[in-house]
């Protein structure tokens, strides 16, 4: 495939962002703008009684103090209709738009203050008095699932919001005949998304046209519109949602939140433009997170180390609501299988409601945890059998000639999870070679003799990308000749506009810079979904590709009539259609568009249909699977437990690449998110459910000094599932990282026989393991 952007074409988004001329939601200003601050629950679980707003209302500059009772006038419901369907869920708990009588996590919004400035609104919010009766809080999932636990919500029968078994084959027999068995328990934590820009929106009712325009820092503007139409009881033509420049998303800006409805409702109620900008403290307590999974698993292997089965249990912290169904733990359970042949599988999954912030997908979306479990089992079995960690994987990887490979589990769309293309053994082989796997033993030996503890780890993984059901794109050329593209895709920094422009440019024979792309605006295109599941190049990219082909064909057919030549003799170049090799015989795209826009009463030439406009909804037939191998090299300071990643090598296969530089940017960012989840990020609470990590000083993110230079090598196994042969790349980097890094740490400390079963691996935790191992006998 010929790549766009290989020579470092600037992204279309870059220029304005580099100049400080980005338009993030807090950069937007409109006349008479008022500011909103939310008063949030200070308790993990409390019955809310009287709310006294009288003092707050008296502050100069305060326009309103609103509770759910006040908003009811413009709302059709009290809860957010957020539920993603899932039959395993016993009872859906949609988030409250504002708390009515029971607050179920610290950070849940109870009231809102509208004022001239944010500072005044904050002053006033501190003066609202709430009668709260503190209730027992569920803060730990094992305890929460026990029969004598207090309840997360008083109106629910228990805390087990969903329970199901995933699996296939005769696991019991597999274990009965196994030559080798191992069991392991893991406490896996994954933190939040923590984009540098938090959530926020500006809602402006316009009395002139009756339209409520909402600029929202969201991944899914069309979904926001749908929720607003429902909750506010408006028609589709009365709401426009625009995602302006969005400062990172990484998952949690996908679900719709109470604040988006509450601010929009208040704007309608007060007939004033309102802005709410989440601060970092709010981001830590009120934006969805991932947090804790507890796995107890066993693996059965034959005498050669081939997998016979995996069974066990998974407990998952679901937080206080169910805004995204079960997708997060579901991804964990299916991604465990990875690129391996797993003949039998049985996992009992229980989701516990807790008095904590709701949990939904963050980059990787549960998959890193599933991959981690599989990869750790393989490493441990390799150690038990005395074979290489690479060798046990070679024995279990799905061979290239077995693809497409149908696994025995279903994905969310109800189809069998099917790996469409790739060469997993070759991917691992290339990664081992690139990282110097076979020479490492000698390097490690030499380092150990000098008292240095270095290790090399590996992991293989797949990532389901390009999730449907569809994405939209349209392409329009009018008499101006300007090429206008619109899509339901939305960008939070992925370079979506550049990707789309490259695809259309290649088909139409123009430079990407001349194409005007509008993403994330519900007025630009009627339907759309947006950013989730590493999907937009697959879905919007192929939609636009089809639309571009349609327009290119129509330009040629129209020009064939005007120039009296065969359409086959025409080519498209620099916004003109011309006779091949005869540059003087040409028509501009604008002239063609003008011809097709018609003259009153005259027929269009050659019986052509009107206009240069095409809109395509691309419906991917199934999920397409990206895969990769990660190799991490680390050095451990065994006195302090400090871990330094000294080298990181990836072989990555996401099918054809539209723009390799953008793909690498996605993989790099993903890997660093994975490194971060492995070593740093940890959302902590006390026993009462009070969050303890509420600033970037308490909750660590990696800095430029903490991460290594990352080497990325590509394979390109085009998928047969879409015409461009492309797969997604946005989360893949995150998935392989925790397993590879922990493999490396255990390798570095192999003489101490340390087994790591908790994420994140902080220096304190590792130091404790090292000391324990040393106390039990030095290496």
């Amino acid at each position: 495939m010929q790549h766009a952007g290989k020579t470092g074409h600037a992204r279309l988004e870059d220029d304005r962002l580099l100049r400080g001329q980005g338009r993030f939601v807090d950069d937007l200003d409109v006349p008479d703008l008022l500011h909103v601050v939310f008063l949030r629950s200070a308790y993990a679980h409390a019955r809310i009684g009287k709310i006294d707003k009288s003092t707050a209302e008296k502050i100069v500059g305060v326009h309103a103090v609103l509770t759910l009772a006040d908003l009811k006038e413009v709302l059709t419901c009290e809860r957010l209709p957020a539920a993603t369907p899932a039959s395993a869920i016993h009872f859906h708990v949609d988030p409250c738009i504002l708390v009515k009588d029971e607050a179920c996590y610290v950070g849940e919004p109870i009231a809102m203050v509208v004022a001239d400035t944010r500072a005044i609104a904050e002053d006033a919010a501190a003066l609202i008095e709430i009668d709260a009766e503190i209730l027992p809080a569920v803060t730990e999932i094992r305890a929460g699932l026990s029969s004598d636990s207090p309840r997360t919500r008083l109106d629910q029968p228990d805390n087990c919001v969903a329970r199901w078994t995933i699996g296939y084959g005769d696991c019991e027999s597999a274990f009965a005949k196994a030559a080798h068995k191992i069991s392991a328990s893991f406490e896996l934590h994954k933190g939040g998304a923590i984009p540098m820009e938090g959530r926020g929106l500006l809602a402006r009712p316009d009395p002139l046209d009756g339209v409520l325009t909402v600029w929202d820092s969201t991944q899914m503007p069309h979904r926001v519109k749908r929720v607003l139409v429902t909750t506010l009881g408006l028609n589709e033509n009365q709401i426009r949602v625009i995602a302006p420049d969005v400062g990172g998303g990484f998952g949690p800006k996908g679900p719709v939140y109470a604040e988006e409805v509450a601010v929009s409702a208040a704007a309608l109620l007060l007939q004033k433009p309102l802005k709410w900008i989440e601060d970092r403290y709010e981001n830590f307590i009120s934006t969805n997170q991932e947090r804790d999974q507890y796995w107890d698993v066993e693996g059965a292997f034959d005498a050669d180390g081939r997998l016979l089965g995996i069974r066990g249990t998974l407990l998952h912290d679901h937080g206080a609501c169910t805004p995204s169904g079960i997708q997060l733990p579901q991804n964990s359970t299916t991604n465990l299988i990875g690129p391996y042949i797993l003949p039998t599988y049985k996992l009992d999954v229980s989701l516990c409601l807790t008095n904590k912030t709701p949990t939904t997908s963050t980059r990787g979306a549960g998959r890193p945890q599933g991959t981690f479990v599989m990869e750790r089992l393989l490493d441990r079995m390799a150690a038990k059998l005395g074979i290489g960690r690479d060798e046990i994987r070679r024995r279990n990887l799905i061979p290239a000639d077995a693809l497409p490979y149908v696994t025995q589990v279903l994905t969310r769309d109800g189809l069998p999870m099917t790996y469409d293309s790739g060469d997993y053994p070759e991917c691992q082989r290339r990664a081992l070679e690139a990282a110097g796997w076979h020479d490492f033993l000698a390097r490690q030996k030499a380092a150990r003799e000098k008292g240095r503890w270095i290790g090399l780890g590996l992991s293989n993984y797949v990532e389901g990308t390009g999730r449907g059901p569809f994405e939209t794109a349209s392409l329009r050329i009018g008499p101006s000749g300007k090429i206008l593209v619109a899509s339901g895709a939305a960008s939070q920094g992925q370079g979506t506009s550049t990707m789309l422009a490259h695809i259309a440019a290649k088909v139409l024979g123009v430079r990407p810079e001349v194409i005007d792309v509008t993403c994330g605006d519900t007025h630009a295109i009627a339907m759309g979904l947006g950013a989730y599941a590493s999907r937009q190049t697959v879905t919007a990219g192929n939609a636009l590709h089809a639309a571009s082909l349609e327009i290119a064909q129509k330009i040629k057919q129209t020009a064939a009539h005007l120039l009296e030549v065969s359409a086959d003799d025409l080519e498209l170049r620099d916004s003109f259609v011309q006779v091949k090799g005869v540059a003087s015989m040409k028509k501009s795209f604008g002239e063609i568009a003008k011809t097709l826009s018609g003259n009153a009463g005259f027929a269009l030439p050659g019986g052509m249909k009107p206009g240069l406009f095409a809109a395509v909804d691309f419906e991917p037939p199934a999920i397409t699977y990206t895969n990769g191998t990660h190799l991490a090299e680390v050095e451990v300071d065994i006195r302090t437990g400090h871990i330094k990643i000294t080298r990181y090598v990836i072989v990555h296969d996401c099918g054809n690449m539209i723009n390799p530089q953008i793909v690498e940017g996605q993989v790099l960012g993903g890997v660093v998110h994975g490194i971060s989840a492995t070593l740093f990020e940890w959302i902590r609470h006390d026993a009462q459910g009070q969050p303890l990590t509420v600033s970037l000083a308490d909750y660590l993110l990696p800095t430029a000094h903490d991460v290594p230079r990352i080497e990325i090598h590509h394979m390109e196994s085009p998928t047969p599932l879409n015409p461009l042969g492309v797969k997604g790349a946005a989360e893949s980097g995150t998935i392989g990282a925790p397993a590879a890094i922990v493999s490396a740490i255990e390798d570095a400390l192999a003489p101490l026989k340390i087994e790591i079963s908790q994420l994140p691996v902080t220096p304190q935790r590792l130091q404790k393991l090292i000391r324990k191992a040393q106390a039990g006998g030095s290496p």
Partner: protein, 162 residues
């Protein structure tokens, strides 16, 4: 509310304005002067998105009050391109090295690197020094690699590059 009149130079332009004493410099720049290129990512001095140059030293504009800047000189990301609109070589290198994705942290990162350029000896600028310098600016998108490469290309001598 307590207010003071301050005189401040921002990007070469003189301002004399009345500001609330509790208003921080970031809010002053963004909402009073409408220089929204300076972003606030945490408002507690960790993320570095709001980094500006105050009398040529990098400062987190969320941690200093506007009134503290009375009589002083501020430079923001909006000052980097030249009068004709041509991007600063560092900005240009950022684009070529894909050093930005969402672009939210970018202005603060650029100002941090401008300080390095103005104060360090190019013959001493290497990858390690750049990573150390950037360690006060958080980025969630890029993994920092593109920024480091752009800075190496622009700020260091050829023999210090990879």
């Amino acid at each position: 509310m307590d207010e003071r009149i301050i005189t401040i130079e921002v990007n070469g332009k003189q301002y004399r304005l009345k500001v609330p004493v509790r208003e921080n410099l970031a809010d002053f720049l963004r909402h009073r002067l409408h220089l929204t290129g300076t972003h606030t990512g945490c408002e507690h001095g960790v993320c570095g998105s709001c980094t500006i140059l105050l009398d040529s030293r990098s400062v987190r504009s969320c941690l200093i009050l506007a009134v503290q800047c009375d009589g002083r000189s501020v430079r923001t990301v909006e000052s980097l391109a030249d009068a004709a609109g041509k991007l600063d070589p560092l900005q240009d290198a950022f684009s070529r090295h894909h050093a930005l994705q969402c672009g939210f942290c970018t202005p603060g990162v650029l100002m941090t690197l401008v300080e390095l350029r103005e104060n360090a000896d190019p013959s001493e600028i290497n990858e390690d020094m750049i990573r150390e310098k950037l360690s006060g600016n958080l980025c969630r998108c890029t993994g920092y690699q593109g920024m480091v490469d752009a800075a190496l290309e622009t700020l260091s001598r050829p023999d210090k590059r990879l």
